[in-house]
């Protein structure tokens, strides 16, 4: 059973609207006859680590690409303090770091980081290569890195951008357990500087470990939004049985 979070928030807790960074409202996207996103609505709060949870093919990447404006949405709006943001203006709110890309493969990590900070015009350098253990990789070419190394470089590039919300698609994909924990800790400490992180994660256990709140996505629809407790309560109401983990809650709500 699905519900539209924005309506709930607006109707029951009007003051919360003013503390919201952004609201995503009724976002829709179709690929021909296939519905990728259907009436997707949720909110993003400042400084939180928000997890986008969903199985493969649930529309996580499509949602991020539509939010960042690198893919045209068929409907819906993004509101900032209640005012709609044009697709062009979204680039000032979101920075999207896709999964599975190898940008500038012939260039060194050092140059890529300098380019990210310079091109995107970062006001304050809020991350250092050492934060993500990139120092030994600085002179390596991006195209020669392993999947996990490349993932860390891309995260560093994302963290160097100035937009208030970073959308990271599968930030832990390709990382081993130790790296996952280190990167997760780095991301959490980074969020404490005030920037919002919106992480698409298909490993629910990883999401439960690092995120403050969650948006559950299944078959292109939002099936739940909130903290672990809020989602668990919602799942218990649906399931009529205690729900201890995010995995159980996800299964109950999808």
């Amino acid at each position: 059973m699905c519900f539209v979070v924005r309506r709930v928030v607006v109707a029951r807790s009007p003051p919360i609207i003013f503390s919201l960074v952004l609201q995503v409202s009724h976002l829709a996207k179709r690929y021909g006859h296939v519905t990728a996103l259907d009436d997707v609505s949720f909110s993003i709060r400042p400084g939180e680590v928000l997890g986008l949870i969903g199985p493969n093919g649930s529309g996580k990447t499509t949602l991020f690409e539509c939010l960042a404006g690198v893919l045209p949405a068929d409907g819906g709006v993004v509101l900032r303090d209640g005012q709609p943001l044009s697709v062009r203006d979204r680039s000032s709110a979101f920075f999207y770091m896709p999964d599975g890309i190898a940008p500038w493969p012939q260039q060194t990590v050092r140059w890529a980081l300098a380019f990210a900070a310079g091109f995107f015009g970062n006001v304050t350098k809020r991350t250092e290569p050492s934060d993500l253990h990139l120092t030994p990789l600085l002179d390596a070419r991006i195209g020669e890195l392993s999947k996990g190394q490349r993932k860390r470089v891309l995260l560093a590039v994302g963290l160097l951008t100035p937009q208030p919300v970073l959308l990271a698609d599968e930030p832990f994909d390709g990382l081993d357990l130790k790296q996952t924990r280190e990167v997760g800790a780095a991301l959490r400490s980074f969020a404490q500087t005030g920037r919002t992180l919106f992480l698409s994660i298909h490993q629910i256990s990883d999401a439960a470990r690092f995120c403050d709140r969650f948006v559950l996505l299944s078959s292109g629809r939002v099936c739940g939004e909130g903290t672990l407790d809020e989602i668990a309560r919602r799942a218990e109401a649906v399931r009529r049985a205690p729900t201890d983990t995010l995995e159980d809650a996800f299964l109950a709500l999808t």
Partner: protein
């Protein structure tokens, strides 16, 4: 601290670095040496023999112009490179971002798409300028041999090849943006190039409107520049097409914009370009910057023709593939159009080759009509055309005042050119590529 450099300068640096990392660019640079070398060596050898080297009859090459004898064939290497090598360099630079995923990152900067494609175009133009260093080495060698150099015609020929490269870059950028994969873009680009050659062939066979359209293909455009002729309509049309191609590339680079909107914007760009191109076909100014004024009548004749008013109509009964028609066009009518823009030329023929029209009584006739008076000749030389027009206009032929072009014969073999273009140039380029790659490692 906020970076003091603009986003555009970062983008320029990135494109330059991507170009230097591109194998296709280095391959093109290496290939330019032998391509220019084979053309230059062959041209200089022929020029030298015609000028009296190895016992050729003295005086044969006295009216030789280096523009036609050396520079046109030498720079034709640039035409080959622009058609078959440059597209791959351009496609690599435009498609590479989409293939690697860098485009998705860079598009999140609010920089206009036109600026993005502009940065690529600037870098590609710089790349082409470096590639043109190969024929410029040929110029230096020619000077070392004691050859004559007339700067305006050399500048004209270089400008023509830069404009031609601009067309290639714009076409390749548009196809690379429109298509998902570089190989599709390469096929499309080469198809358009081959298409223009087919158009030239059809024009040669059928003449008429085809001939007029074919006058604006890259091959025809470059040929005019290689003869030292700069036509404003050609320059404007080529510039418009370059702009349209880059605009299309910018439109399709914006992945976040709805496909229907991008399609409608493309139609608007195409319609605007078509309107501008059509308007430009009515522009008539042109400049003959060849030293021997090969595209112009003598100055006195031009002055006399300018004072002949009234529409001049010429009806030539010659088939498109008849050599006499080619003679008439090259020796007289192309020069006449530059002085008398209102001249109307109609070709009449029932077949394309004219072989079986020879028995027709009127075949081969060239009719002139000026202010209600008519005259007919069968001669296709410049002198006969001018004489007929003067008779119709009732004016006397002016005395010749131009100095006769004596030419610049040079009976010197292309010493050292083979070593330069087949050995030193490729070696230097390979060394440069190696050093650049090592420095960036």
């Amino acid at each position: 601290m906020r970076s003091r450099r603009s986003a555009f300068s970062w983008l320029l640096e990135k494109e330059a670095r991507e170009l230097l990392a591109s194998r296709s660019w280095w391959v093109m640079l290496v290939a330019m040496g032998p391509l220019v070398g084979v053309s230059f060596i062959s041209a200089v050898r022929t020029y030298a023999e015609a000028s009296g080297l190895n016992g050729t009859a003295a005086g044969v090459g006295e009216a030789f112009s280096p523009l036609v004898g050396v520079w046109a064939p030498t720079f034709s290497a640039c035409e080959i490179a622009a058609a078959f090598l440059l597209p791959f360099v351009a496609i690599r630079l435009v498609s590479g971002d989409r293939q690697s995923g860098a485009l998705k990152l860079e598009l999140q900067h609010p920089l206009p798409a036109v600026a993005r494609i502009g940065a690529k175009a600037i870098v590609l133009l710089a790349a082409w300028t470096i590639a043109i260093a190969a024929p410029m080495v040929a110029v230096a060698l020619w000077r070392a041999y004691g050859g004559s150099l007339y700067t305006p015609e050399l500048v004209t020929i270089v400008a023509g090849h830069v404009l031609n490269a601009g067309l290639t870059v714009a076409l390749a950028a548009a196809t690379a943006s429109l298509t998902e994969h570089p190989s599709t873009a390469a096929i499309l680009t080469l198809s358009v190039t081959v298409g223009t050659w087919i158009l030239n062939f059809i024009a040669a066979v059928n003449g008429g409107a085809w001939d007029r359209v074919a006058g604006y293909t890259p091959t025809a455009m470059v040929a005019e520049f290689q003869h030292g002729l700069v036509r404003l309509d050609v320059v404007l049309i080529a510039t418009t097409l370059v702009g349209a191609g880059l605009a299309l590339a910018a439109v399709w680079m914006r992945l976040g914009v709805d496909g229907r909107r991008r399609a409608s914007e493309s139609v608007a760009v195409g319609a605007l370009a078509a309107a501008v191109v059509t308007a430009c076909t009515f522009v008539t100014p042109s400049w003959d910057w060849s030293e021997n004024r090969m595209n112009s009548f003598p100055r006195a004749d031009e002055e006399t023709l300018r004072h002949i008013h009234g529409p001049l109509r010429i009806e030539a009964h010659l088939a498109p593939e008849d050599p006499r028609r080619t003679d008439l066009e090259r020796r007289a009518l192309s020069k006449l159009r530059r002085v008398m823009p209102r001249v109307q030329v109609d070709y009449v023929s029932a077949t394309s080759i004219g072989l079986f029209e020879q028995t027709s009584a009127h075949y081969g006739e060239i009719w002139y009509e000026l202010n209600g008076r008519r005259a007919m000749t069968r001669a296709t030389t410049a002198d006969s055309v001018l004489e007929t027009i003067y008779d119709l206009a009732g004016v006397a032929a002016p005395p010749e005042t131009d100095e006769v072009f004596r030419g610049h014969p040079l009976a010197v073999p292309p010493k050292g050119a083979a070593a330069v273009f087949y050995g030193i140039w490729p070696a230097l380029v390979v060394a440069a590529a190696f050093l650049v790659r090592r420095r960036r490692a």
